[in-house]
């Protein structure tokens, strides 16, 4: 038995595959999903998502969102998501610096803009954590 995993962001369907297990970062900590899991709906917190398929483990960075498990189908709705291979470390670091600088100088930015920048920073640090895990 296996699970189908689908990760969708507003820009694209980032991931769709049949897998064995997945560990999702949620607001209450990580939740591991195995085939036959009972239906579940939960809030996803930005963090590292772990997928195993056969004896391969892959990592993804995900942003805030929601996850649903229903009938061996795991659907994740995330603000942002990226697979490990696609993370460009240099670009992410640059983005992180830029967001930090913007945030620092713009103390009187409107709250929406601030929130947006914070989101970028959080996601950037998650990406770096995922990328550097192997070393």
């Amino acid at each position: 038995m296996s699970l189908t995993l689908e990760i969708v962001t507003p820009e694209a369907r980032v991931y769709a595959d049949t897998i064995d297990t997945v560990v999702i970062p949620t607001v209450d900590g990580e939740i591991g999903i195995l085939p036959g899991h009972i239906p579940l709906l939960t809030q996803v917190e930005h963090g590292e998502l772990r997928v195993t398929k056969g004896n391969q483990t892959s990592w993804l960075a995900v942003g805030n969102g929601f996850a649903q498990v229903e009938g061996d189908k795991v659907s994740i709705l995330a603000e942002r998501a990226i697979t490990e291979e696609k993370i460009d470390e240099a670009a992410v670091e640059a983005a992180l610096k830029r967001a930090e600088a913007d945030l620092k100088e713009g103390a009187n930015l409107d709250p929406n803009e601030q929130e947006h920048l914070m989101g970028i920073m959080r996601f950037a640090s998650t990406q770096l954590a995922v990328k550097r895990r192997r070393r």
Partner: protein
Amino acid sequence: MASTRDIRRRIKSVKNTRQITKAMELVAASKMKKAQQAALAGRPYAQLMADMLAALSSRVNEAHHPFLVSREVKTRGILLVTTDKGLCGPLNANLFKLVTEIKTPVKYFSVGRKGAQFLARTKRDLVADFQVQDRAPFAEVKVAVEFMVKQYLEGVIDTIEVIYPRFKNTLVQEPLVRPVLPLNNVKGFIAALHADTGTVRDTRHDDRQMLFEPGAPQVLEALIPFYVNRYVYQLVLSARASEHSARMVAMKTAKDNATKLLGELTLEYNKARQAAITQEILEIAAASFAA
């Protein structure tokens, strides 16, 4: 017959018009590609979100949440999504037709300058006008939606609806009124959404008890505002795709018309010129005979 000089002047002006419309067509075409891509890419996301909402609403007692309960409708709240600029064919006019058909009390909110101008001109109750840039950043749409939601919760308006041009394909944009809140008919709404995009809802049904983390009320509390924001955003993206498609088609028609007119004018010009030359020769010949 008009003099050759007049015709020449007209040919020049038509040529200029053709050049401008041609340039605008090209610009609209490239913007259209981007806008269409954005609108289409967001669809799976909106669908998945709707599916989650369906799963959630069928399992929790939805009687208490203000977003799910329908109340007596005294004042409707309508967000009119139009373009900022004109020259896009009948796109905005079609939306305005829908607006004029509404006879019940409505408070209007507007995205797009054309819509705001129309509402002001026809002296309708325009509460707020929101500027959204052409590439439609989510944060700017969110401001508008959150403002409406606040009014909805305060009871100033009793529904939230969106009037927008739905993007069907490059040639067809359909003006629509889309109810957003209250969400009192989730099933019907989701069926409509799927029929819209031509997808089938996953029928694999799992009716075991569903687990909610951290809890059903919390998830509902988080999912619904999120859903409303995203859903309206998706509608705005669709409106933007419609705008650029309509503009491209309008400009293409204008350009084609200009080309046709140019052909006719050139023919007329050549005829007039030829007639003038013939006349001159006749006059010279007649003069030499007389001499």
